[in-house]
């Protein structure tokens, strides 16, 4: 790299400047405080970890997304976390070992080898909350409610919630006796709702005709609440797993409606985001100005098994950097007070400054011979001597 380009950052790696950093940090504190008020304990997993444990229960995608290096001490492969959820699951399964429901939250930088094609960043700041040890829909409702509270605290409006259930496709694939290859081909096509290609695939598979019809209809099963009724008719010949999944979705939507009566909710039964990882209900939040989801989550039972204990699990996560920039657009923060103190050897001034700072008031002290006025330094008020007493006066 040429010397003149030494300021350049790698693709998708960004630095956050004071104004944005202040906003982000305020939001981070507020959201962690919110999680704490819901009884979620903060955990801080390591930035790098053994690769095997980072990739637990996840698909090929996360493997590709993970930066890898060799540990010179053990000779093992290490990875820089590309997702914190498996680490938090390990803490629940291996370290805490509680028999009762465990609520954990986290925030931290993750790294992706390839930026999300839409987000461009390769270093999102993942924030999320996970609830372990309860298999019912009540815990799903709790984490969805917490996610919606998080978005409300962020100052975002017109939130739209999308609900799905990966168990529906999984059960249909199993009922049809699809091979692994077929299941992943079909997964790719369903994710794009590519109906023409789905038809071609179905024509080439030799599976039960009823199942063909149901799988063909899957990409059309999205929309408002009436979709669940339609699904019950379309998926009539599916097994009980599918019927239970539909009943769960309906119950979750009903419970949410009592808490958020005006929340627009849609259903998408072919939504397979995180299919390799999730085991049940999945959800995502959208807002009109962003062409993709801004927070997502779902149920991923038994991920802890590899760490010694299978536990039901449900949770959500979002990129704090994205939330921060969205909230900055919707509610810019007012300017904080900053007091300018002149340079002086007067001990009384030092005492005053110490006292102000102890009361959480920000003071910046001039250095001898420096350029830049109080105004240029971004100060809002100034310490001035008045009859040997130092007083704070607003800067005009």
């Amino acid at each position: 790299m040429q010397q003149k380009d030494s300021w350049l950052l790698p693709d998708g790696i960004e630095e956050i400047l004071p104004e944005e950093a202040k906003h982000l940090e305020n939001l981070r504190r507020e959201l962690l405080e919110l999680f704490a008020c819901w009884g979620y304990g903060l955990v801080i997993p390591p930035f790098i970890d053994f690769l095997d444990s980072l990739l637990t229960g996840s698909g090929h995608d996360l493997d590709l997304q993970t930066f890898k290096l060799t540990d010179q001490i053990s000779g093992e492969m290490l990875g820089v976390r590309a997702d914190m959820t498996p680490q938090v699951a390990r803490i629940d399964a291996h370290n805490l070992k509680y028999e009762w429901p465990t609520r954990l939250c986290y925030v931290g930088t993750i790294l992706h080898t390839r930026g999300d094609p839409l987000e461009k960043t390769r270093s999102p700041m993942q924030i999320g909350a996970e609830l372990y040890g309860h298999a019912g829909k009540e815990s799903d409702v709790e984490v969805i409610r917490l996610m919606l509270e998080m978005l409300a605290r962020t100052g975002l409006q017109n939130i739209h919630l999308d609900l799905g259930h990966v168990g529906i496709y999984r059960a249909l694939a199993r009922q049809a006796g699809l091979t692994d290859l077929q299941e992943s081909e079909l997964f790719d096509v369903l994710q794009r709702k590519a109906r023409p290609e789905l038809q071609e695939l179905m024509d080439s598979y030799s599976i039960d005709n009823d199942l063909k019809v149901m799988l063909l209809k899957l990409p059309e099963l999205n929309g408002g609440k009436d979709i669940l009724d339609k699904a019950r008719i379309v998926l009539l010949k599916a097994n009980d797993a599918v019927k239970n999944a539909l009943a769960d979705l309906e119950a979750i939507a009903q419970k949410l409606a009592t808490h958020f009566p005006f929340l627009p909710v849609s259903f998408d039964l072919a939504e397979l985001r995180g299919y390799h990882y999730h085991t049940g209900m999945v959800f995502a939040a959208f807002i009109p100005s962003v062409g993709r989801e801004i927070a997502r989550g779902g149920r991923y039972d038994n991920i802890g098994a590899v760490f010694g204990r299978a536990r039901p699990a449900t949770g959500f996560s979002a990129d704090l950097k994205l939330l921060s920039s969205l909230s900055k657009q919707s509610c810019p923060v007012g300017q904080r007070e900053l007091i300018f103190a002149p340079y002086s050897d007067d001990f009384a001034l030092s005492e005053i400054i110490r006292d102000l700072r102890a009361r959480q008031r920000a003071v910046v002290q001039q250095l001898p011979g420096q350029t830049g006025s109080a105004k240029e330094l971004g100060c809002t008020s100034i310490l001035e001597q008045d009859n040997k007493n130092w007083v704070v006066r607003p800067l005009v």
């Binding site: 094609p117 839409l118 739209h160 794009r192 590519a194 109906r195 023409p196 998408d268 062409g291």
Partner: protein, 208 residues
């Protein structure tokens, strides 16, 4: 408001009758008008006119809710983050390899000139052939003539350009037609408007 991204040229011309059936007729003609956003006779629908290869990008980001793009462009772009619910069966052509008409059957490593880098690479890999891809932006037919490549991978419609340059199409890689693509978030948040449009298109296509 629904925004539909369409590329200029053949796709635009062949999409017009389909759009018209759904009551969407652009107020201006992009051939004579320099506007990039075209109002239509439907107040709630506008068109944006962009390059074919940019359609998936616009729709992915939600800059347009829907788009009409060739399957070739979608595969080359990698369209996991889009929905592509309908084959519009317009702007149909074939993606093929083409060689100099006198070229013997190729053996071993091959040099391929194309703008479809991903597709060409995976096609030759599936045939068990190691291919060196040379990315070009146009006039592919020239490459075998001047010794730049052993063959080309390109869209073939009538085959006249190939013939005029002493080339002949050989293997069919895939049949191409234009697809309707939808932004994932729009599909959820503007569900009523979009699904109504989908049903309308499907009806028109079924009657063809």
């Amino acid at each position: 408001m629904l925004t539909i991204a369409v590329s200029k040229g053949r796709i635009y011309e062949e999409a017009l009758p389909l759009l018209a059936e759904a009551g969407i007729v652009p107020v201006d003609d992009p051939k004579t008008c320099r506007k990039l956003i075209l109002a239509t006779t439907r107040e709630d629908v506008q068109l944006v006119i962009i390059r074919a290869t940019d359609v998936p990008t616009f729709v992915e980001y939600g800059a347009a809710d829907l788009g009409i793009a060739g399957k070739d462009v979608l595969i080359e772009h990698g369209a996991e983050s889009l929905y592509e619910p309908l084959d519009l069966n317009i702007a149909c052509c074939r993606l093929m390899t083409a060689y100099h008409k006198d070229a013997p059957e190729h053996r071993g490593r091959i040099r391929v000139a194309t703008k479809y880098v991903k597709i060409a690479k995976s096609y030759f890999a599936s045939k068990g052939i190691q291919a060196d891809i040379i990315k070009l932006y146009g006039s592919m037919e020239l490459a075998p003539l001047v010794g730049l490549a052993d063959c080309i991978v390109d869209l073939v419609d009538t085959g006249n350009t190939l013939k005029a340059n002493d080339l002949e199409p050989r293997e069919l890689i895939m049949n191409i037609s234009s697809r309707l693509v939808v932004n994932k978030a729009a599909m959820k948040m503007k569900h009523a408007a979009i699904s109504e449009l989908l049903i309308q298109f499907e009806k028109t296509l079924a009657n063809r």
